[in-house]
Symmetry: C2
Subunit: 703 residues, 2 copies
Amino acid sequence: MHEAVFFVVPIGSIVALLFAFIQAKRVLKFPEGTEIMKKISRAVQEGANAYLKRQYSGVGLFFIVMFVLLGVMAFAGFLTPFVPFAFITGGFFSGLSGFIGMKIATASNARTAAAAQESLNRGLRVAFSSGTVMGFTVIGLGLLDLSLWFFLLKYVFYANIEEVEQITKISQAMLTFGMGASSMALFARVGGGIFTKAADVGADLVGKVEAGIPEDDPRNPAVIADNVGDNVGDVAGMGADLYESYVGSIIATIALAVSAGYNFEGAAVPLIMATVGAVASIIGTFFVRCSEHADQKHLLAALRKGTYISSLLIIIASYPVIYFILGPEHIGVWVAIISGLITGVLIGFFTEYFTSDTYKPTQNLSSSSLTGPATIIIGGIALGMFSTLIPVVIVGISILVSFYAAGGLSSFGEGLYGVGISAVGMLSTLGITLATDAYGPVADNAGGIAEMAHLPQKVRERTDALDSLGNTTAATGKGFAIGSAALTALALIVAYIDEITLKDPNFEFDLSITNPPVLIGLFIGAMLPFLFSSMTMSAVGRAAQSIVKEVRRQFKEIKGLMEGKAEADYAACVDICTRGAQKEMIAPALTGIVAPVLVGLILGVNGVAGMLAGAMITGFVLAVMMANSGGAWDNAKKYIEKGKYGGKGSEAHKAAVVGDTVGDPFKDTSGPSINILIKLLSMVSIVFAGLILKYSLLDVLFK
Amino acid sequence: MHEAVFFVVPIGSIVALLFAFIQAKRVLKFPEGTEIMKKISRAVQEGANAYLKRQYSGVGLFFIVMFVLLGVMAFAGFLTPFVPFAFITGGFFSGLSGFIGMKIATASNARTAAAAQESLNRGLRVAFSSGTVMGFTVIGLGLLDLSLWFFLLKYVFYANIEEVEQITKISQAMLTFGMGASSMALFARVGGGIFTKAADVGADLVGKVEAGIPEDDPRNPAVIADNVGDNVGDVAGMGADLYESYVGSIIATIALAVSAGYNFEGAAVPLIMATVGAVASIIGTFFVRCSEHADQKHLLAALRKGTYISSLLIIIASYPVIYFILGPEHIGVWVAIISGLITGVLIGFFTEYFTSDTYKPTQNLSSSSLTGPATIIIGGIALGMFSTLIPVVIVGISILVSFYAAGGLSSFGEGLYGVGISAVGMLSTLGITLATDAYGPVADNAGGIAEMAHLPQKVRERTDALDSLGNTTAATGKGFAIGSAALTALALIVAYIDEITLKDPNFEFDLSITNPPVLIGLFIGAMLPFLFSSMTMSAVGRAAQSIVKEVRRQFKEIKGLMEGKAEADYAACVDICTRGAQKEMIAPALTGIVAPVLVGLILGVNGVAGMLAGAMITGFVLAVMMANSGGAWDNAKKYIEKGKYGGKGSEAHKAAVVGDTVGDPFKDTSGPSINILIKLLSMVSIVFAGLILKYSLLDVLFK
């Protein structure tokens, strides 16, 4: 291929960013509603800003320490000098994606509520447009940074070296970039997840359960913190997360291009594919429209239509990309792309099947609330565990199809490259899928504002309809994140092995599952997602306890609060959540960075590989289970609120609320962080490969 | 070694069985108490007999089908002709272990209650003696069957063939014997687990929560079913389970002896070691005694003393065993035995640390009940997940130590043999550890009888103290079962690979974790314990629902029941539990048999190996988590019942009851079945190895 073709990537990234900018302008033109609505929205914005400011300064410190550490290691010859810088930029852009997404989301909540006063469809338009800003910012920034590094390395720093070595060095620097992005994403997901669920659980426990006031009631001091949480967790956290997934899948595939022997073309394909996807996603967004009198079902169909059209465009457009760039003999790679796209859609569908109250599983779960909280908890865990069967089978088929289509046993490297590219294919529609995903929290916030600003009941009903739709699309989004993570993690394990071979061509691998270090690594890897989930769930519990105490204090000490005569001290709750999240996010995030180094220093290279595989498989299964259990509990509760089994206030409803509360950290804190964890483990392993090759206890003792 | 030495094994087995017989005689001499106590005990016996009769006839049908199936396969040349018979006998003896244990347990419950009228210590003696009957029946039968098959094969069927081939063929037949034992154990554990928890949950939900009558109240129609459940689940199920663990670890090590090149000596060592352990355990039981005025702490110390003395005796006695049989150059095997023993003790200790209310974790969990059921559920799951860290590290160290002590990288086969023998070492104290474990359900039943027979409050307090001690020892027992399962499963995976090599010496393995079939196998394997747990938990839920309906019906329809004037129809509840358990145990148990065959037919040999490894690591972690979450919830509730946080009847207590109910299927149905599942998967894979070598979709398509 002519190298000039590659310039479509930065151009595509600018198109995506421009599109995001235009959409942002459009959203901001909508009116914000009444003074009180503006005031509430401002409070949410301030809270979210305060949180992010604190988070970024805390995480900044971490990045400085890591920068110095990596600098020392580079100085000692274990790493190339670009590594510390690549690490920093990865973190920066991941954070920036979350930041921009949150800015637009907090600017859109009151606007969505105001628009919903007119019609459901108008509300959807505002919320969805704000979602597109987020979606295209993430992919635009991702493509920008990746192509920037690619150009710098190829045409400036490594311009004068031979092509194979050049691509190798580029992929190494890119992987560190990925490690930065993953670190940032993990902090953002975990911190945001702790914040949002501590506020949510805390507000519910005292407000709904003890004081008996409705959700989003302005008398509840934690109500603003709850709304801030939606933005810092489900928006900023998710933005950083999916930025990481997006660039991670591309970087991993670039790394595999090297071992597949594809050289420059192979490394360019994932970037060009992603660019094709960006354009296809932009076109897709124009199909998300429906009549003014559409109901919820039509809205979902409209959202789906956009995604399906984008997917179809990608399938068509990627054929010539593969045909002309890799050559007709590699057309199997095209099959891998299709396989990835279908896998994403299927995982999304089955996630919905297990968590939506329009299907049997959640309806049955709902009925188990009739015999109390214990049975709905058992039922929800059983549902989540059962729901892992189909995604595992789908991912298994996807790996097989893309591996054998793109290479097979005789061309092992090319086959694995196919697996990597199927993840890129799955995420190529990210612009539009993320848009349909990110609009959910905006609708949720809009509902809160409608309630607090005492807008007519009809408005709240509309925002509830949007919110409920958002639950479905959020479940699909999580399916994408975890599905692509399994494929990307696999690609990264291979990249790890390549990295070792590169550093020590004589290294004798024994990656057999019966080799004790591999085996022990597998055990440790299987345990890590459990340990990590335990830490994040406990963190939510502790932070929620602080909120419970604060809300109780305010109810007791602020006179006239319950009568609506005095105002609650919202900022205090926001502050407690912020502090709690900052403190609590450190240990779980560090686990992801320390574990591979520690395991490596003890068990050596083979042990690390085992750990990565163990974490990947168990992490995938556990993440699916937690997300689906949580989603099903949430919707089982909503199903009762629609009037089933006695409706709101019944014993069944109380039991379902317990289920929902347990599900909160499952689906919004621990579950969605696991996909980042398994990729971060791999990237850290790759970056520290040189160190582990040199120092490892087992090797010292038994060689 | 002189082959005559081997005769210690059948002699040891007869000594163990004789000891069990004498203990049984002793227990049966104790008086059964009043007429009403006898009547209740009789009802429990009848219920348990009815259940086992039904179960054995159902399982019998399964065994007949399998016998025919294996017979056809043997006829077609895939298996040796002994396989069907070995399979049947394994199942028979596993079932027999459970049956005898249950017989003595149901005969001891009223006797324990009667003895507890006199003193706590006397109650302990009766209950513990009944436990020893179970413990030594299991190991006696295990050693008897193993040595019987060993002798038959070595001196009759394969008398005239060369030694290496002889040992190989013996180990193959033994593995089928193990598959029979595992199948039976899985049915017994799952069926018994469903019965006991359906009865328990059902009785609690209507009795305690709805009708507000105390636990074990004779007015509750499910009360007899609840007591029957303790016997069919915690006694018969556990007996079959640990029989399987015991023979499984020995069989797996015999199989490894072949690949380690040890021949007859290597195959004899695990059996002789187990015999040494049997004798040491008998000696240990004589140290379980304490003064008449001992408190609970002293009782636990007394039980521990017995186990520690047995362990010490084994360590001393196994030195000459290894030295003279394997030779001084293999003394590293002795280190592996010690490592196994220590691993068992350490896992037991940390299990206790995480689940006993004398330590921080369960105390903290207890306090989280103050903010309602949701927080104690989240806390319990987080606790269970966190508690997986230490057992994984301990097992990891244990594998490393035994591998490197017994062989290391240069003598790979011998190293793996060391891992196998460390599992044998861990289980060599089974006679006494199982005794301290099996007495728990007897004490639990005794408490029920004391309540129903209106014995003085003091008696109930004493049986409660015994029961609570039983919870601790049961937790330790589960730690042993799962800890040894990890090591045994590993040995069995190696045995699987050996079996394939034996059947096709040219088979090219690629067991690397990056080989797609292995990788997909890993994913499927990681999912299986989740799927299996989902099935067993749902089964408990469904069966409990039927009990709830029946108890409600009886409360409504039987006039005078609540006033104590009419008698409940206990048999109806027993019958419902029996039917429910029979129906519900089929699907999960079949999963363990069908999965390896199906995965093999699609992914081939490498895929099966991946699946086994995935199931082993995830199964281990999940089993530890479920057992510890469940145990901690149970004891957190008991901690409140001792008067903390408002005591019985408080809101905190209600929340803790929810936790305990969720924990019931965790710790008594799903959790303890997983260790059987992971071994059954391996054994089925080994038995069907010939079939999979010949027919596998991937091989057909891509070779």
